[in-house]
């Protein structure tokens, strides 16, 4: 049983507990993360138009654990010197940071794609963008339901 003295010490310590605790409770969190995603997207494509298509983003719709979600991207492309995929970017809309991976490749890759495992912090939309050698951008997106989040929970036990 906590004594009165122990209670007061704990209370004082929790008041000193830092601003990051407040950041977790930020009511504007979703909006801020969406804005960060838009900014990251801007950095990738500049002002160029992004068209849906040619890109296939594969994610399981309901995942066991957000700490490790298998993700793969495949882009339709002949992968010749004249017509190939230069880069593939994966972004999220609700993770603490929007960037996930950026792949840089060329005709020697044979097929444009990547398979990896990513962390997802919330039920959200994941976006894959391909940059082609002709300067155009193509994209695909996928919705994922996450019940056990990455980044936000300790998972120590």
């Amino acid at each position: 049983m906590t004594t009165r003295r122990e209670f007061l010490v704990l209370a004082a310590a929790s008041l000193a507990a830092p601003t990051a605790a407040k950041a977790q409770l930020d009511p504007n969190l979703a909006a801020k993360r969406k804005a960060a995603y838009e900014e990251a997207l801007g950095k990738v494509v500049g002002g160029a138009r992004v068209r849906a298509g040619r890109v296939k983003l594969l994610l399981p719709p309901l995942i066991d654990n957000g700490n490790s979600v298998p993700l793969s991207v495949a882009v339709e492309s002949p992968m010749t010197a004249a017509d190939h995929v230069k880069a593939i970017h994966v972004l999220t809309q609700r993770n603490p940071l929007p960037d996930v991976v950026s792949v840089h490749l060329g005709p020697r890759a044979g097929r444009a794609g990547i398979s990896t495992r990513v962390r997802l912090a919330d039920t959200q939309t994941v976006v894959a963008i391909a940059e082609l050698s002709d300067g155009t951008f193509w994209s695909d997106s996928a919705e994922v339901v996450v019940t056990l989040s990455a980044c936000l929970e300790e998972g120590l036990i």
Binding site: P60, T147, L148
Partner: protein, 262 residues
């Protein structure tokens, strides 16, 4: 007592939440399923493919440690045990096993440390340390695909019964017994995640929640914390008794080490 209260209690009793679970609540062998079957297709694929299973990293470390000389005796595991693929075959499948010197069952981690201290004359490896997990994973890997094979005799029966009693005992602030979830409510859900039957077929395993490899004791301590009970320290006899019961309860099921679980 009002009629309404009586009906409520009857309903709750029917839901078996206030009824002491009977030992006969154990899962019939035809219905026994590994945690593997409760996972998504993708997580199963992660376990099945050695080239993508993160447990492989620990297993390779274990293979290197197996051959490395250690301690003042300057001896490697391989010096006495040779090729682990032969000598350690089916060993993990029969642990926890009775240790005559200690007069009680020990788990695989304790057996490895007994060798380290007693034969290699090296300091024991800390529980959940990278090296102990690697060696345990490597040894247990040699049982992959083989049936769990715990034999109970007069020496081990009291410890099995102690483990069984712990499995059926309500504990912690949530006052839950292991059996209530894992015998009575497996295939249900707890906070969105499937409740498995709790068979330790793949330990040490790579748990996505831990983002690393961990032992059965780590998982048991997590469960005890989960029902808000005080967790036993690593290596405690209470934990080893429970491990013995859980392995015995899973007798005949195939080992999957190093498994992957959410």
């Amino acid at each position: 007592m009002t009629a309404r209260a009586a009906r409520l209690i009857l309903a709750l009793a029917a839901a078996r939440l206030f009824v002491e679970p009977a030992a006969a609540g154990e899962i019939p062998s035809s219905e026994r399923r590994s945690g593997y079957e409760f996972m998504s297709r993708e997580t199963r694929a992660m376990q099945d493919d050695d080239t993508g299973n993160p447990g492989t990293l620990w297993m390779l470390d274990g293979e290197a440690l197996w051959k490395r000389k250690a301690g003042t005796a300057d001896r490697a595991c391989s010096d006495c045990h040779g090729d682990a693929r032969e000598s350690m075959k089916a060993v993990a499948a029969r642990y926890p096993a009775f240790d005559p010197a200690l007069r009680r069952p020990v788990n695989l981690e304790q057996r490895i440390n007994a060798c380290r201290v007693g034969r290699q004359k090296a300091p024991g490896l800390a529980y959940e340390s990278k090296d102990l997990l690697a060696l345990t994973a490597y040894v247990a890997r040699q049982s992959r695909g083989l049936p769990i094979n715990i034999t109970i005799d007069a020496r081990t029966r009291p410890f099995l019964e102690a483990g069984r009693e712990a499995f059926f005992r309500r504990q912690g602030q949530l006052n839950l017994a292991c059996a209530q979830c894992h015998d009575d409510h497996w295939s249900g859900k707890l906070a969105g995640s499937p409740i498995t039957q709790a068979h330790p077929t793949g330990y040490p395993l790579y748990r996505l929640e831990w983002q690393g490899l961990g032992s059965l004791e780590r998982r048991l301590r997590g469960c005890l914390t989960g029902v808000r009970a005080e967790s036993y320290p690593y290596g405690a006899p209470e934990l080893v008794n429970l491990e013995l019961y859980l392995m015995w309860r899973a007798n005949g099921m195939r080992m999957e080490t190093p498994a992957v679980r959410p």
